[in-house]
Symmetry: D2
Subunit: 476 residues, 4 copies
Amino acid sequence: MRIPVQPMAEKKRLGALGRQLAAASLVSAALLSPAIQADQSGLDMEINKHGEKTLEFDWPILHVGTGEYPAGPTGVTVFHFQRKVLAAVDVSGGAPGTVNAEFLKLGYDLPELDSVVFSGGSWYGLETATAVATALKDDGIRDGYAFGENPNIALSVGSIVYDFGSRRLNEIYPDKRLAQAAFRAAEPGWFPQGAAGAGRMTLSGVFFGCNAHSGQGGAFRQLGDLKVAVFTVVNSLGVITDREGNTVACYPGENWPEDLRTADLMQDFPSSRAEGWAGVSADDRNKNHNTTVSLVVVNQKLPHAQLERLAKQVHASMSRGIQPFATQFDGDVLYAVSTGELEATADDAMSSADLGAVASEVMWDAILSSVPEQPQVVPAAEDVAVSAKDLRRYSGDYRFSRFVTLRVERRGDRLFARSIGERDTYSIGRDKAVELQPVSPTRFTVPGRFPLVLDFSREDQLLANPGKWQQLGSKI
Amino acid sequence: MRIPVQPMAEKKRLGALGRQLAAASLVSAALLSPAIQADQSGLDMEINKHGEKTLEFDWPILHVGTGEYPAGPTGVTVFHFQRKVLAAVDVSGGAPGTVNAEFLKLGYDLPELDSVVFSGGSWYGLETATAVATALKDDGIRDGYAFGENPNIALSVGSIVYDFGSRRLNEIYPDKRLAQAAFRAAEPGWFPQGAAGAGRMTLSGVFFGCNAHSGQGGAFRQLGDLKVAVFTVVNSLGVITDREGNTVACYPGENWPEDLRTADLMQDFPSSRAEGWAGVSADDRNKNHNTTVSLVVVNQKLPHAQLERLAKQVHASMSRGIQPFATQFDGDVLYAVSTGELEATADDAMSSADLGAVASEVMWDAILSSVPEQPQVVPAAEDVAVSAKDLRRYSGDYRFSRFVTLRVERRGDRLFARSIGERDTYSIGRDKAVELQPVSPTRFTVPGRFPLVLDFSREDQLLANPGKWQQLGSKI
Amino acid sequence: MRIPVQPMAEKKRLGALGRQLAAASLVSAALLSPAIQADQSGLDMEINKHGEKTLEFDWPILHVGTGEYPAGPTGVTVFHFQRKVLAAVDVSGGAPGTVNAEFLKLGYDLPELDSVVFSGGSWYGLETATAVATALKDDGIRDGYAFGENPNIALSVGSIVYDFGSRRLNEIYPDKRLAQAAFRAAEPGWFPQGAAGAGRMTLSGVFFGCNAHSGQGGAFRQLGDLKVAVFTVVNSLGVITDREGNTVACYPGENWPEDLRTADLMQDFPSSRAEGWAGVSADDRNKNHNTTVSLVVVNQKLPHAQLERLAKQVHASMSRGIQPFATQFDGDVLYAVSTGELEATADDAMSSADLGAVASEVMWDAILSSVPEQPQVVPAAEDVAVSAKDLRRYSGDYRFSRFVTLRVERRGDRLFARSIGERDTYSIGRDKAVELQPVSPTRFTVPGRFPLVLDFSREDQLLANPGKWQQLGSKI
Amino acid sequence: MRIPVQPMAEKKRLGALGRQLAAASLVSAALLSPAIQADQSGLDMEINKHGEKTLEFDWPILHVGTGEYPAGPTGVTVFHFQRKVLAAVDVSGGAPGTVNAEFLKLGYDLPELDSVVFSGGSWYGLETATAVATALKDDGIRDGYAFGENPNIALSVGSIVYDFGSRRLNEIYPDKRLAQAAFRAAEPGWFPQGAAGAGRMTLSGVFFGCNAHSGQGGAFRQLGDLKVAVFTVVNSLGVITDREGNTVACYPGENWPEDLRTADLMQDFPSSRAEGWAGVSADDRNKNHNTTVSLVVVNQKLPHAQLERLAKQVHASMSRGIQPFATQFDGDVLYAVSTGELEATADDAMSSADLGAVASEVMWDAILSSVPEQPQVVPAAEDVAVSAKDLRRYSGDYRFSRFVTLRVERRGDRLFARSIGERDTYSIGRDKAVELQPVSPTRFTVPGRFPLVLDFSREDQLLANPGKWQQLGSKI
């Protein structure tokens, strides 16, 4: 669903529309103008767009809404509880972004939380967490004045992932407009997995140069009356690993074995990283740029101290599915919520440790569900001939964003490219031009560890890596 | 300075204009329409409005901007450092609102902080802290992409005070628009004291029912090359106390001594609170609604661990100037910043404990400077006659906000009032009408511990407590 | 090495003697006298007794000493650094015991730590951590008075594991005497693995009823000039798991598969626990009685903030080798130490994340090395005949400790036993007598999930589970 | 009461004896022998010795015992609750020593605490906290085995103050023996104030060079059924200040005003410290050597989160009575205990903030009660003649401890002294001999900011500063 600018009056329709899958979206013209490069108010939004798969679950208290700027791409995921719930937080990474985490650490047994918001955009994305709070007020759900016993100030917490850097060619971030649209479109019973919402442009395995696309994962389990839902946005230094020990997604280094086992990568480290260690650009390294942010929801009533224990246990357990985990360069934060719908004395209620064991497995499922299908490295085709006219037509300077412009030049019957802005264009650097090798008459590639496809099929536009994570440049 | 809607292109002018004191501002019409009651986009803003007094100091690295919605009133204060600085945080209250506090607790000796934002509006006001971060990006100051060594993601932290409740008749809060205008107007060398910025509508002494107006305070001290600046927004359960032990501002209970000493109030507690204990409405009590948020800035380079010690020491020292302090119902947060301009080995450099002793005294000065002049309780005048025509004209239902409407009725030659909305109108409750006693032909009062003046001099409008903290109702 | 009572003058000899393996030790007579049941001053000590295997490593700055009370059995492990080192701590379990952890959390970049002490005995075992500090003073190593720049107060930190409960029949704990003897015997270059030191009487897999013996593990890795040593005392709710996903040690429930995989136990939980769920007695359940305490030592200089990150990362990584981990009922604590011998700018120095990845693998090796050889369940022998005279001789009341006395009775040609003290004797309860089935003329068993052998070969004594974890009862 | 060596069998008698005031105690011979200088096992103990005054209060659940080594002097104070109570902790100083503080931070609403132990001896004194735990086990009060619902492991927490340094001439510390004797002698209803227990050798005002003797303070208040008891061991950088703002105890610098006001000292800092800034020796400065440790006990049931709030509020409030407070060089720790005897719904129950206000005032009373009577600076007498024979007799080398030996020499009819050990003897340094000026035929002084009296009236012994804080040297 593409939403040019979202008028509030239309919000009722969003629910119905939200489930429709959107076609590939166009970059807004607004972004391409240098004068207003950072004005995001004209960007197209996609709200409640489905990902690879959709988790469905029955839990009316929990509404989920997502908002995406396909031009980034980047996005936000909003969890809105239909009544105030008890929450705890565990921060284990070395580069967190948080809103209102301090309050959750005070240990009150008082349900106060309205929403949890995950977002791309690094620290800028925190605007989405505060925007959901103010939307709750502006919409009259939390008026800001307390009548009777119940506090009526919205408590919205949130955390972010770093989805800038060399993975994309602009610095668009999820903002207030996008977050409030996602909040207002939130619906029960669904959660889009893969490259969706806050997981729209995340990576995994950066530690080993894998740089596989990841996304957001979700899983749900019900044991009698006990419900456990887990959501995680994986943007990790670590590689995603299944229960058999396999590395689930990775663009392998040269000479790496076909069947990659995480235990081998880890045990052989640092030598396992030596080969083909080119995934992370010098600009990106050591910049605190990874993060996995997670949410565990249980319906069992728990004292706050035990909810904290649950958060700790489940958070630590993620070290199995993501290796390494909780490093200085991750900003890992986990929120744990008890909706309190199931009494602690109920038959199906559990100790925090048992509940933690269950939730840790649901978490592992969630991590695995976050992985989208990966684009493949496309080999150059031997026998493609591109006409001189086309080569001329493809030539030119393509601007992707304020810092990224790619110069494409014809040299005889070959095409070369060089970055002339302040930043590289993926593996195409600024020092010298590299040859673009044809894959088809309109598509070219630069061989390397990672897929890189440049598509010239649109008039005066260059589509880098067409598909889910595409970037659009305009000839200038 | 009144700013209808602030276009970005005008921001250069703001600096010059900002220092001019504004006339009393009008409530925007937008607020009075029920349909869009919570849409704040049309509210008048006041940017860099001066308070009671203005602290001037010489420290180019630190820019201060304030934004106010006079219709609240409420406001925001933005501290913008001209380069990244090292920061620590100490949370001592039981009801804090924070953005990015977790990051500051990790102990890195790395200057990362760009701005500290204080705001009214309770948790909703946190939108101002994230808005300053995104303004830093949108304006191209922190691009979001790291070139070379320096990280270039803006780190903005912030905390809020609860300035809702019975003190005012609406729930307007400082938002993104207001914060970004204040940020863009920030200037070096000044800080408005009293009822300004985030301290626009704060109270002190709520614990003893004093409910005196407070505000934001600032103080500066230079010892050789060593600089210490302290800023605090006082919205405290505790009473403000000077170095001689006097209670600085309080609407006293009945039979209280003229020369009120805080030590007496505290030692005699709970009996000291028994008399005239009417300051806090039942709705407001036990709602975690006070907070003092503070910022200490030193130019001396300090390791993060020592900056944390400084924060702790200065924060604890505030228990002298505000009594009680750091309670469950305060959200007290203190940020400590080292700009690193003075080397730790410089002649004027100090140990953290010595620096803390100095800063604690500067803090006490700052607390004292936060107190604005208090409105006086105006006695009813014996000999004022109001014409029947005027009484008829004054009669009617005045709407202040979604929840507050006051019904004014003429009964013979007297005027009565009763709240007919969901909330009380100050001491005028919803159960039965109270008599409005004339002070002048256009002004009336209701006797009590606190000043209450109703001004009917405007056509079809009722001005409650005209002056700095006035509230405007419109006849419906 | 058995040490009746350790005179200080003999401490020099301990080093040499320490490496000799001791013969099975006798329970001190002192323990058997009710009047002085809790006086441990006469207990035999074993100092620097080797375990299953011994880790050898070259790192002169780090001395290790162990002390054991075989009568418990229980023990203590002392790590003594030969100069003050920098330390950080991560507490992730819900039932920790700590000495001086708060100081380590203040973030000073100052080497202050002298020793880390791990101990059995639950909170009582903390006496060992303070005892090492006072030994450092009493021996004149840290005088308590600061001459010159260096502080000269010993900083000893420590944590404990719960090795009481149904696993043994008394509550002997490591105390000051034992700890100071271990401290004074500490030597470089060695670390005993398995049922040694603080790991003398630990269990793993309690969560699934596995109740396998565990112990203390250690591993060392050197990469160029970079050294990483890891030590861990595993007493875990979780099952120990190898890199292929196998459960390393477990007394399986009925009908459990031969090749037990932890992923299956975890994914099938809670049903995986249903069968044969008899490992934990009702008395023991929900009593916060597990704990894994760990120490990571690196020689690279790290700022304190990064050492904390390292601690977090490695601690979380343990969730792979121990599943579940960091629950409410574990008291997991990890100390991280930087000796500072390798400059951060050295060729072999690493980022904290890289170092954490290496250390996490060394930790996994350490966990695996903690597992001792398990006693087997011995079936009753069909054809053993025990003479009536022997049966009569075996009959009687055997006292193991204040709370445990076992009544052995002959009934015809069979032998029965019942606990008549306040506590059960392993699976032999207090409600009714169970038959003791002969294994040999002097040994009997009670069939069940866990090995239980009663040995009557000593005059007037009953040896329960003869071997490494034996318990001695005396006829009364 | 002097106790040569305390056999356990006599512990019953201690209660009765404990209240008797003891005569000035002798230094044990053991201390004077170099060979066993650090063996404290022969030191005389004083148990439950009264201080300046005794606080009496009615609260049977709380027993208090003290132990002192007069040869130090130094001591320990044990608070033993007669059933498990709920506890929280607040660490605000930069140099804390703690046992089991981490557990108290987990937020469980479970009464677990048995005892709080305060001690001198810096980190070495933590042995007293663990010793009380093991005494609870050894005496069969907490067996270590859990029968039924209740955990039966003793939880003892504790903190220490630094009472080493130039204030005394040896490094004796409270140890296991002393703590267990104090624990076993604990009685209800009393608390010795001043130079007693853990406050036996504490100072205040070190920040301004005041170096006044302080001690331990206690106060109690009952409001209806609500009880609040507060205890504090003041060993503070800050000066003790009363509610009128007066500095309560200080050896003033030259030219300081008679009526010293703390506000003046603080506001004029650093210049207020310039004059007569000789109180702290170079050895002592910047050595993290101060600490105020405190305990607040309420009988009202509070959730743990609110007990933490109470701890924070009261701890911060101490900044009024001790200025400065909570610095990097203090190790301030406060424990808060709720005995749970008064239901939260009782008529006299209070919110945590109200309770905090009450307890903060009781704390201020406690702080003030900690101040013992100060020794006066004794002027040299003009007309005292000491015989040559006496001068000869006084001459010699007097050994106070391993590091302190004073050489007294007759030069004509005058007496000179110089320190020949590794440490100074108070103001008598090692560089050159200073004249001892006669006060009486047997007593001499060295003029200065602080009292210094040397008494030669005992044969072959030198008593430095005879009286409460005396130090004994023996001729060698």
